[in-house]
Amino acid sequence: MEKKVIPEELNFQNNDKMNLTMIPSRYARFMRTCVIWQFIRFVVLNIKMLIVVRKSH
């Protein structure tokens, strides 16, 4: 049978500890550095952080 390698899943077999974690899929990794999505997150995160900063002063 043909071998199916999904690179982002390989680390599950490194050891038992890693086997029991969640590892991001290719889609999740792509979104982390997708400039348009991250620009939106940049705005959202700044607003969230400013709220926490305001609550703390």
């Binding site: 982002e8 590892i23 997150r41 900063v53 609550k55 002063h57």
Partner: protein, 489 residues
């Protein structure tokens, strides 16, 4: 004219001194005593440690800034406090020893009306044999705690990269160098910045990277971890921390007290009492923190250090230090005004104050070795406590003794923290996190101890951009450039 003396020109001391000088104007004097000639934006030392920034990018000279801020600057270290003065003179004073300004080694007695202790941590490398000694960092490991340490770390990293390029495998060990360390976040950032750097250098497959820390679980960060809402679930930071380590193939040892370091070897004891040895070619192990060792003397010259300071050298403030079990810890144990109970004109801010207890659950190995993170006091709480105390002192000076002191309890304030996981304008990532409050309050927020509407974390490029913006913003603010007071701590 009243005189406020601020000991330490780091994050909290600089904040306190600059705001106090602005609020007091020229009617009163603000003096800063600090041994360094330059201010260091410490969070960016991580990037210096992987060669992505130079030392010059993260420091600037203090003298011109203090001139501009109308602050008297003494490049010296404080040695002792005499809160009641001395025989024949009632005015309290601090004894300092110059480290610069052409007066190196000279001592001076600086009288004060109010003093703010913002001396931060002593990097206690000597606590772990082989990690260092009384003079500081030893020869077997590197550090990123100061800009100079980070420059050295970067050179050592380059040497490892060269070896890997020649086909020699290298083992990296990053984490904490003692069972009672704090600042896991900085080690976390360094581990992932190294990982990212090695990928960019094309040698990641030649490196084994291992994390070793005193946390009982990954993602504890000295705060007992945090819970956040993600995709309809409320989950522990443990899940996300483990996920990142697995994704980047960084193996981990947790619940570890590193008890001895030798050339290429770290010896450790685990929470289950077992011991082990981890080999390395490159290691960055954060030292435990202690107070800087200030002494205090009574009017008659008697040693009263134990009245002002806890045995770890950190200053006692208005916290509830009564020893009690974890189940009885309360948010109200944490200090609110940072005033010394012994002397009302002495305050301590940032890392210099002694916390009432840990935040993480205390843990010991069967051999009795405490292995638990001590509470972190990151930049934001350091800045906020510095500003609140500056406000109190200004009110005391301008309005008189009876004023209500300003309050800033870590059990009521949040903290925003951005942990870099690799630099790059379009490829960088960082975990952007906020916790509210820093110290969990299970009475107000039963379950997680924190408000999950304001406690969150997320990794991505946006976090990296925020970290980069904060780098420029906080250096801009610390240089007292136009509008600096508008930038929050």
């Amino acid at each position: 004219m009243a005189r406020l003396v601020v000991l330490g020109g780091g994050v909290s001391g600089h904040t306190a001194a600059t705001f106090a000088a602005k609020w007091l104007g020229s009617a009163h004097e603000v003096v800063v005593v600090t041994p360094n000639s330059q201010w260091n934006w410490i969070p960016s030392n991580i990037w210096v440690g992987v060669g992505d920034m130079s030392k010059q990018d993260v420091v600037f000279d203090l003298a011109p800034v203090y001139r501009k801020g109308n602050i008297t600057y003494k490049q010296a270290k404080a040695i002792s406090l005499n809160p009641e003065g001395k025989e024949g003179a009632d005015t309290p004073f601090v004894t300092i020893e110059y480290t610069g300004q052409g007066k190196e080694g000279q001592t001076e007695e600086v009288t004060y009306d109010y003093v703010i202790n913002a001396t931060g941590p002593k990097l206690n490398f000597a606590a772990t044999p082989g990690l260092g000694d009384a003079n500081g960092l030893g020869e077997y490991t590197v550090s990123v705690c100061t800009a100079d340490h980070a420059v050295h770390a970067s050179h050592e990293l380059d040497r490892c990269i060269e070896k890997m390029q020649k086909g020699e495998r290298q083992k990296f060990l990053i984490g904490t160098g003692h069972g009672m360390c704090t600042c896991q976040g900085a080690a976390f950032e360094y581990a992932f910045n190294i990982e990212s750097k090695l990928r960019k250098a094309g040698v990641r497959d030649m490196a084994d990277i291992k994390w070793i820390s005193n946390e009982a679980f990954l993602g504890d960060f000295g705060m007992g971890g945090l819970h956040m809402k993600v995709n309809g679930y409320v989950v522990s930071s443990k899940l996300f921390a483990e996920s990142l380590y697995a994704e980047r193939n960084v193996d981990w040892i947790i619940g570890a007290h590193v008890n001895k370091v030798e050339k290429g070897k770290a010896h450790y004891e685990l929470l289950d009492g077992t011991t082990g040895v981890e080999e390395f070619d490159f290691a960055m192990l954060i030292p435990p923190f202690a107070g800087v060792g200030l002494k205090a003397y009574g009017k008659d010259g008697s040693d009263i250090t134990d009245q002002l300071f806890a045995p770890n050298g950190l200053m006692k403030v208005d916290a509830d230090y009564t020893p009690k079990p974890y189940s009885e810890w309360k948010a109200s144990d944490w200090p609110r005004t940072y005033q010394s109970p012994a002397y009302k004109n002495i305050f301590a801010v940032g890392i210099a104050f002694n916390p009432p207890h840990l935040i993480s659950k205390p843990a010991k190995s069967p051999n009795g070795t405490p292995i638990n993170p001590t509470p972190p006091r990151t930049g934001m709480p350091a800045g906020i406590t510095g500003k609140a105390v500056a406000h109190s002192v200004c009110d005391l000076i301008t309005k008189g003794e009876g004023v209500q002191l300003h309050e800033a309890s870590m059990a009521e304030m949040g903290a925003a923290c951005v942990a870099s996981a690799g630099r790059g304008l379009l490829t960088g990532t960082a975990a952007a996190m906020t916790v509210y409050p820093v110290v969990p309050d299970f009475d107000r927020f039963p379950g997680t101890g924190r408000d999950t509407d304001y406690t969150f974390g997320e990794i991505g490029l946006a976090g990296h951009w925020i970290k980069q913006v904060l780098h420029y913003l906080f250096i801009y603010k610390a240089k007292l450039k136009t509008g600096w007071t508008l930038i929050p701590e």
